[in-house]
């Protein structure tokens, strides 16, 4: 679990949106997309962050294809062996190949990030857009709901929900996480929507016969797409961290392997006390690298989309 830093694009709800605005008449006629790309390929934070994420993603997606065994939990090697040429990251107490576990674990880590982050982003968008766009009583009620979910410590709820329903798969875990981690994002999206709602092109769309959701998705959302993307990244990273916490305290999926579960079994089987550092170091580095790289990439994106942050 960690504190997801909000996209700094809007540090506070009352900061007006900066990504759009009348540009100077004689400003260079680059389209916004092309300009962003220009900065994107020159932003070291974005490049480094993305590179790490992509390398790890590649490892997770392709890595298993190069493994002999399809079951990362199989007892394949010597027990409690330190890293060597055959078992790059050593083996567990039972003789499981830690590299295989790591590679498969990365997969579920990304999966839970996508599912949890995706669901949270969807809920946050629905709530945030609706509250911000509709305003009035709808806003009041949704805001209150958001605040309530925000104040209730979600891990406590997750603990209960997990214990209640029992998590069998990464998917269900992602679902739970998604359903509890959306509030801050909803608030942020609401604030953004709020400032975009009063833009006159929204009125113009209404005058052109568009309905609420069409306006939201065709007019408002495209305007904050970079912001939404950044929000998703943060939710993604947050989901991974939450999932690893849940896995760690034994509320993770019962099947398969994830980085959190690896940490859990390293802990349960006293890897620390037995000096088997190769058991608990890699999964933690994996999580930290994925999440950290995402965060760094996010700052990079922020700088790309946000002229004020660009280093001149």
């Amino acid at each position: 679990m960690s504190t997801p830093p909000q996209p700094s694009g809007t540090p506070t709800p009352d900061t007006p949106d900066k990504t759009v605005g009348p540009s100077e008449a004689a400003a260079p006629a680059l389209t916004p997309g092309r300009e962003s790309l220009h900065y994107a390929v020159r932003n070291p934070k974005l490049l480094i962050g993305l590179a790490i994420v992509l390398i790890l993603l590649g490892t997770g997606v392709l890595g298993p294809l190069f493994l002999d065994s399809s079951d990362p939990n199989a007892y394949v090697g010597p027990q409690a062996a330190a890293p060597d040429g055959t078992y790059w990251l050593g083996t567990t107490t039972f003789g499981q190949d830690i590299y295989a576990q790591f590679v498969y674990g990365l997969r579920s880590t990304f999966l839970v990030g996508v599912i949890g982050g995706g669901i949270a982003a969807i809920v946050a968008m629905l709530v945030g857009f609706l509250a911000g766009y509709r305003g009035g009583i709808v806003d009041e009620i949704l805001t209150m709901l958001t605040n309530i979910v925000l104040v209730i410590p979600s891990l406590a709820v997750l603990l209960i929900a997990n214990a209640y329903l029992g998590v069998r798969s990464v998917g269900v875990q992602g679902l739970f996480i998604g359903l509890t981690s959306w509030p801050w994002a909803a608030r942020a999206i609401r604030a953004q929507t709020f400032s975009l709602r009063s833009r006159e092109f929204v009125d113009l769309a209404r005058l052109s016969g568009s309905r609420t959701w069409r306006i939201i998705f065709r007019e408002i959302a495209p305007n904050m797409s970079s912001y939404l993307f950044m929000t998703f990244i943060l939710l993604f990273g947050g989901s991974i961290l939450i999932a690893s916490s849940l896995d760690f305290i034994g509320l993770g999926p019962t099947e398969g392997v994830s980085l959190g579960l690896m940490l859990q079994s390293a802990q349960q089987w006293s890897a620390l006390q037995l000096g088997m550092w190769w058991w608990f170091v890699p999964p933690g580095i994996g999580i930290t690298a994925v999440v950290g790289a995402l965060y760094v990439a996010n700052v990079g994106l922020d700088e790309v989309f946000n002229p004020k942050l660009r280093e001149s």
Binding site: G95, G166, S265, Q268, W269, S270
Partner: protein, 554 residues
């Protein structure tokens, strides 16, 4: 912080930290108590604080597993005076911690508590008809039905409580009371307790010093509520703990590195304490079919569990499941013929022969009617060794063509499901070593099947013939070894053919001790061969005697 509540006149002293309990007089143990000590009621044999029975309250006899014999404890002697009467002589000179003498009335009272309907040993009175004090030191028990085997078990299992204190309590308090100011007969009395520990203090006027010539070495015993494995290892390494009765992964390496000692200094390191069984729910298809159960038994790679999961701390179980201490009761000619071993090919063949075929080509066999077989093997979450073992079992079953998934619900939920018969497969090790294999057979075959099966026959296996044999065994005198063997052989025949539960491995009498503060721990080498355990019931099976053999390390 209010750390804990001190008892009996220890006002003020309880909070003065380590100074009050010199390290060289204190024994730190763990491994028995899960969670905060809940009560000091010896009747609550499932959740009382460690040592409540054994250190504080005592039983009439102890049992020595090495000799297979009862040894008199509170009782001086006891014998069957007729087919249905048992007369027991109480030692004289035993006093309660409040100074009152222990008399036959206390024994009678303690047994009669079982008459309360909600009492956990209420079934005793199904076959016991009367307990009476003949004189101050003699109690005569009269039976409706003499169950010799079970009676011996009771003799060293049932705690004796002071009538003059307890008879004033309501039934409710007797059964559920916390009893945190216990009046005891044993060598230790409650000093204090807190969220994570209970502290016992030696009574130097304990009767056993004179009568038995025994004196437990530690002045204080501090039993820590079980922290997790890795914490225990840390505390052992730092010499904070003297004895851990936990299963510790990596124990072997600690022992090899001389950071800890155990009963044996090489594999299996631990004595065997109980049998882990794979319990199929015999009311469900296809586990109602002995052929299927047998095939399942063949599919389990116990060797892999023993080596991979336990790192050779344990031994694979005999096909009968009887503990090594009961070797003499195993009918080896039977097991040679009917026994099973890990053999995937054999398992496959048995399945095929019995009509279980993979009709849809998914690699798993189907029921005879073509419906899919999907079994769930459940073990409590957090029981890491069993969780790993379950995965090995599922993998073995998969190789044999049986689809088993693992599931790790929490322990109480599983207890609940298990009691209600709402499960496919579980692993269980309910019964411990005892004076007689009868306890194992009762566990396997007890009838009738109740709505809730809380302690025995979780698989709801119904075999009238087998249960009759078990009852017959119960009626054999415990000194009639040949008689016992004869009945047991018949039971084993049924057991091996029917396989109501599948023996897996012998769980160890987990025990790793450090020698920084105390030495002369039990081992196969030296002069202490007692069970190095403070587990419930094990204090009467050598655990207490172990304490008397300890020596302070300088």
């Amino acid at each position: 912080t209010s750390g804990g509540s001190s008892t009996d006149g220890d006002k003020g002293g309880g909070t003065s930290g380590g100074g009050a309990m010199p390290r060289n007089e204190t024994l730190y143990t763990t491994g028995t108590q899960w969670g905060p000590p809940a009560n000091y009621n010896p009747l609550r044999n499932w959740d009382h604080a460690t040592g409540t029975k054994g250190l504080a309250y005592e039983t009439l006899f102890h049992f020595d597993p090495n000799q297979g014999k009862l040894t008199p404890w509170l009782a001086e002697s006891g014998s069957w005076t007729g087919g249905k009467t048992y007369e027991m002589k109480l030692r004289s000179g035993i006093t309660w911690s409040d100074g009152k003498p222990m008399t036959a009335a206390d024994v009678v009272y303690s047994y009669e508590i079982g008459k309360i309907e909600a009492s956990s040993f209420h079934t005793l009175w199904d076959w016991l008809s009367k307990a009476e004090a003949v004189d101050d030191h003699t109690v005569r028990f009269t039976f409706k039905q003499a169950r010799y085997q079970e009676w011996d078990f009771t003799l060293y299992g049932q705690p004796i409580v002071p009538e003059h204190v307890w008879s004033k309590l309501s039934d409710e308090q007797v059964l559920n009371g916390v009893n945190d100011k216990p009046v005891v007969s044993g060598a230790y009395t409650l000093k204090s307790h807190s969220q994570d520990r209970v502290i016992w203090q030696r009574r130097d006027d304990w009767w056993g010093v004179k009568a038995l010539g025994m004196k437990p070495a530690p002045k204080y015993i501090v039993d820590i509520s079980n922290p997790s494995n890795e914490v225990v290892i840390g505390q052992l390494n730092q010499g904070q703990l003297d004895l851990s009765n936990n299963f510790l992964p990596g124990a072997a390496s600690m022992i090899k590195a001389h950071k800890a000692v155990s009963y044996y200094d090489q594999a299996p390191y631990m004595q065997s304490a109980n049998t882990a069984w794979l319990v199929p729910n015999t009311t469900k298809k296809p586990m109602d079919d002995p052929a299927f159960r047998k095939a399942l038994a063949y599919s389990v790679d116990v060797g892999k569990i023993v080596k991979g999961v336990y790192g050779d701390l344990v031994k694979p179980a005999d096909p009968t499941g009887l503990l090594p201490q009961w070797d003499k009761y195993i009918d080896t000619s039977l097991t040679a013929k009917e026994g099973f071993s890990f053999d995937t090919a054999a398992a496959k063949k048995m399945l095929a022969d019995a009509g279980y075929r993979d009709t849809d080509g998914d690699g798993y066999v189907e029921n005879k009617d073509g419906s899919a077989i999907k079994l769930k093997l459940q073990v409590p979450t957090g029981w890491t060794d069993w969780m790993e073992a379950a995965k090995v079992i599922a993998a073995g079953a998969k190789d044999a063509g049986i689809r088993i998934t693992t599931d790790f619900p929490d322990q109480n939920a599983l207890n609940d499901l298990r009691g209600k018969g709402d499960f496919d497969l579980v692993i269980n090790n309910e019964r411990q070593l005892s004076n007689t294999p009868w306890t194992y057979y009762e566990y396997m075959f007890q009838l009738p099947v109740q709505k809730q099966q809380n302690t025995v026959n979780f698989g709801r296996y119904e075999n009238k013939e087998a249960w009759d044999l078990v009852q017959q065994l119960g009626g054999v005198r415990t000194d009639d070894e040949a008689g016992m063997k004869a009945v047991i052989s018949k039971i084993q025949d049924i057991q091996l053919k029917e396989m109501p539960v599948i023996p897996l491995w012998y769980n160890g009498l987990w025990s790793q001790a450090t020698t920084g503060a105390w030495t002369n721990w039990p081992s196969d080498k030296g002069d202490s061969h007692y069970a190095p355990a403070l587990w419930r019931n094990w204090l009467e099976m050598g655990g207490f005697e172990m304490l008397t053999k300890l020596k302070p390390a300088k």
